[in-house]
């Protein structure tokens, strides 16, 4: 029987103790004496969020397939346990062995959103690993970061020994081999990192310095070690079919956000929406073969017992083998009453037909993501969704019996005007009108329900909008207020509900997203002052953040509200995500001209990702 790191008294006291006990179905147990590398994989947020992340499941499965490695999981203790651990001096532990993280060889942290940065410090702190890389000794684990936020790792560069840039499937084996080699030769941390920097995709932040101009922009990066690479290219899985995919994902005891089998059908996206970072980072789009997905689906359902399966990708409708895969799932899942969930499908006759088969029409709602209210602004952001298509989709849906529609928009997009915002209310109103035109009075069971949600736009690195200024908090709130007023002036306003997000958090997210090394001290300061779980609005403390910036003499507006010059060197320019800066700049100009760029299947726009020689770049196009 495993012995838990926490006493019964503590576990009885905290909320959801099952977060901390491990031992779930398919959790991997090994003998620690029989492995050579112990790897703690961390998602720096609460268990229910971390357990829902596919990327970690893939890496957990892959690392545990290596016989010489035992990969375990660790998440942020929730605020109640956090307090107890600090008070009673209990070190953070991994779920499987319940051993302290400090005893591990590696602590891998996946960094999915900027607002988890203080939770990274929480995890290090509770593990008793020095927060700053330069203060760590030979007994501390190597702290390695991965995930989308590492495409601008500079704001958190002081806290990591190493960043892995790109998809995790490719280079862990060589990294771990190198680690074993160094250990066998008695080489220390620094020597290991020095050698690791030679492995493609590895970035050792402490080997570089940065010089700034008087205006605060970057003058140049200065390598501090001989022979280290100037740029680091992202790692990418060329063949996404013949690769690692977990057949036995861990099944949590408690309800988590993603309580289902997740089938990642493809990586990347052909669309090239100009606000979307994922759409650029994961280029080129690569499809998994339907045959592989079918067998994964069967295996994973059998091994987990989940009652739901979900397809995952940035834009599932673009997956070329979708009809074949869906037919298979509908046929096979129906027997065992497994639900199929289909996020990110474009609403059209095909998808409505499929959804009609797999969902309860009366209960489910349809989702459109026009992102902007007017066609003009949709052209600016290259979102190829027209009003005509939306209204036609809505008409078909209403005929099919749906009466709930969700719409997602962004406020504060570059070049947004008052008219664009008015377009949001207008579009909602038109959709409601379509309902009343389509569904005859006698067939109506209650009113149509339209829910419009707006998020505030955050410009991200490696997107065409990386040059754009971000709105201030006040501008954001004005826009949200205007959206609300406008929606309530619509004829069908009673059928429309409006939600908007917090503005403070979006501004801070914008600062981190395009920040540089000078933010490390601010994040550290904010953490020391008590900031944690910033992604949770009930724990987000804007005052503390503002005071942390002030105490460090750093102006957040420098990072968010400023329009950047076209020749400015960005903190993340030393990374090569495949897409060139020239392409992004070209797209920035096209945005200003309101010009649409066709998707990768229609036409190659020479973004740079063709050098990977895979995926859509290698497809033959008609014409």
């Amino acid at each position: 029987m495993r012995k838990l790191a926490l006493s019964d008294e503590i576990l009885m006291k905290v909320e959801k103790p099952a977060r901390y006990i491990g031992g779930e179905v398919n959790a991997v147990m090994k003998q620690k004496e029989q492995v050579q590398v112990r790897f703690a994989m961390c998602f720096p947020d609460v268990y229910e969020i971390g357990m829902s992340h596919l990327g970690i499941q893939i890496l957990y499965d892959m690392l545990n397939q290596f016989e010489d490695v035992w990969c375990e999981r660790v998440y942020s203790p929730w605020v109640d346990l956090d307090q107890v651990m600090r008070k009673e001096n209990i070190p953070l532990f991994a779920l499987e062995s319940q051993d302290p993280i400090k005893e591990f060889d590696f602590l891998g942290i996946t960094i999915q959103y900027e607002m988890c940065y203080t939770n990274i410090l929480q995890v290090l702190d509770l593990s008793r690993i020095p927060l700053l890389s330069k203060e760590r000794g030979e007994d501390d684990p190597i702290v390695i970061g991965g995930g989308p936020c590492t495409y601008n790792p500079e704001p958190i560069s002081d806290f990591f020994d190493l960043f892995y840039i790109g998809e995790g499937e490719t280079r862990y084996r060589s990294l771990l081999d190198l680690y074993k080699e160094c250990k066998a030769q008695g080489l220390g941390r620094k020597e290991f990192l020095k050698k690791a920097a030679d492995i493609p995709g590895m970035y050792v932040p402490s080997f570089y310095d940065v010089a700034y101009h008087a205006d605060g922009t970057i003058k140049q990066r200065i390598p501090l070690e001989e022979g280290i690479p100037e740029t680091i290219a992202k790692e990418l899985v060329e063949d996404v079919t013949d690769t690692y995919y977990p057949h036995k994902p861990v099944v949590p005891f408690i309800k988590v956000t993603q309580d289902r089998v997740v089938l990642e059908i493809q990586r990347g996206c052909i669309r090239g929406c100009r606000f979307c970072q994922a759409g650029q980072l994961y280029r080129p789009v690569r499809e998994r073969d339907a045959k592989m997905l079918k067998s994964c689906a069967v295996e994973m359902l059998k091994n987990t017992g989940h009652e739901e399966i979900s397809l995952s990708s940035l834009s599932s409708s673009d997956y070329s083998q979708l009809p074949e895969l869906l037919d298979f799932l509908i046929e096979n899942c129906g027997r065992d009453k497994v639900n199929i969930s289909l996020p990110s499908l474009r609403i059209d006759a095909f998808s409505l037909d499929v959804m009609n088969k797999v969902q309860d029409v009366k209960k489910s709602s349809l989702t459109f993501a026009p992102e902007a209210g007017s066609q003009r602004l949709r052209n600016v952001i290259n979102k190829g969704l027209t009003e005509e298509v939306i209204l036609e989709g809505a008409r078909l849906a209403f005929e099919g019996g749906w009466k709930r529609v969700k719409l997602y928009f962004m406020l504060g997009l570059p070049m947004e005007t008052k008219e664009d915002i008015e377009g949001i209310g207008d579009l909602c109103n038109k959709i409601a009108a379509v309902f009343y035109e389509t569904v005859p009075k006698e067939k109506r069971t209650g009113r149509v329900q339209i829910v419009a949600s707006t998020s505030f736009f955050v410009p991200k690195p490696f997107t065409p909008f990386q040059w754009a200024p971000q709105c201030t908090k006040e501008e954001f709130l004005d826009k949200a207020y205007f959206t609300r007023t406008n929606i309530s002036s619509q004829l069908n306003q009673k059928s429309i509900k409006y939600n908007w997000h917090e503005a403070d958090i979006s501004v801070l997210e914008g600062v981190f997203a395009r920040g540089d090394r000078r933010l490390n001290q601010v994040i550290l300061k904010a953490y020391e002052m008590g900031c944690m779980y910033d992604a949770w609005s009930e724990y987000y403390k804007n005052d503390l953040w503002l005071s942390a910036f002030e105490q460090c003499g750093v102006d957040p507006a420098f990072y968010s509200a400023r329009e950047r010059g076209e020749d400015e060197i960005f903190p993340w320019d030393f990374l090569d995500c495949g897409v060139t800066k020239e392409f992004l700049l070209r797209e920035w100009h096209h945005a200003k001209e309101e010009a649409v760029t066709p998707n990768c299947r229609k036409q190659c726009n020479h973004c740079g990702a063709a050098r990977f020689k895979t995926g859509v770049c290698m497809e033959k196009r008609e014409r």
């Binding site: 029987m1 495993r2 838990l4 019964d8 008294e9 576990l11 009885m12 006291k13 103790p17 099952a18 006990i21 491990g22 031992g23 779930e24 179905v25 099944v251 005891f253 408690i254 309800k255 359902l301 059998k302 091994n303 987990t304 017992g305 989940h306 009652e307 065992d336 009453k337 639900n339 309860d360 209960k363």
Partner: protein, 225 residues
């Protein structure tokens, strides 16, 4: 056809709550490839019924649930199939086909037997064992019981069918019917209250030994007799 399953719960999984244990078995049944029956309708669910919820932190070797199956090989095969998909801390102990008119697990529960151990933080008076016997020898034990609707005065004595000292622990057999259920910690709290002993946080470790139904002749027998 209805099948009753008996299982145990011990070790770290004692921190998994009752609802989550239900979800755990819903998934386990699928993993085991058992041909369970589903309800009709657009969102069908497995036809399953759990006997009596076990509080978080308690262990047990006498948990039960019933399920309706569409097809079935034999008891031993199902025991084996379920056994193969369990986690550490949950063992399937017995599988039994139910007779036609047999009531469902939840409705059948009449009593439960527990073993209560004490935490080191609880300073027991030297003569606590004798005191427990005289506590149980009272003709009435008037107490106020908290219910969903508020408070109710009851005679606790009527709900305790057996109470005795076993080494360092206390054995008790108490009413576990759906409306009249008595929690073992309530009995212990009442006892120590009468004794005037201050209780620390989490003073007891509670283990359920068995869950009983009442046979027609009035005898208490395990849910799988």
């Amino acid at each position: 056809m209805k099948v009753r399953v008996k299982f145990s719960k011990y070790g770290p999984v004692k921190f998994v709550g009752h609802l989550d244990i239900m979800h755990y078995f819903q998934k386990a049944v699928r993993r085991a490839g058992i041909d369970i029956a589903y309800s009709e309708g657009f969102s069908p669910h497995q036809i399953m019924s759990f006997a009596s919820p076990l509080s978080v932190g308690h262990t047990s070797e006498g948990e039960y649930f019933d399920m309706e199956v569409r097809s079935f090989t034999d008891e031993e095969d199902m025991l084996k199939k379920l056994g193969q998909v369990m986690v550490e801390g949950i063992d399937v102990l017995q599988v039994r086909i139910l007779d036609k008119g047999e009531g469902n697990a939840m409705a059948s529960v009449a009593a439960a037997a527990y073993l209560v151990a004490f935490s080191d933080k609880l300073s027991l008076p030297a003569n606590w064992d004798k005191e427990l016997i005289s506590f149980y020898q009272q003709t009435h034990i008037e107490v106020v019981k908290k219910t969903k609707k508020g408070q109710k005065e009851i005679d606790l004595k009527e709900s305790i069918y057996q109470l005795e000292v076993r080494g360092d622990t206390v054995y008790m057999l108490v009413d576990a019917g759906s409306g009249s259920n008595i929690k073992p910690e309530f009995v212990m709290e009442t006892f120590f209250g009468q004794l005037g002993v201050m209780l620390p946080e989490y003073p007891f470790r509670i283990h359920r030994i068995e869950t009983y139904k009442r046979r027609e002749d009035g005898q208490l027998v395990p849910l799988i007799a």
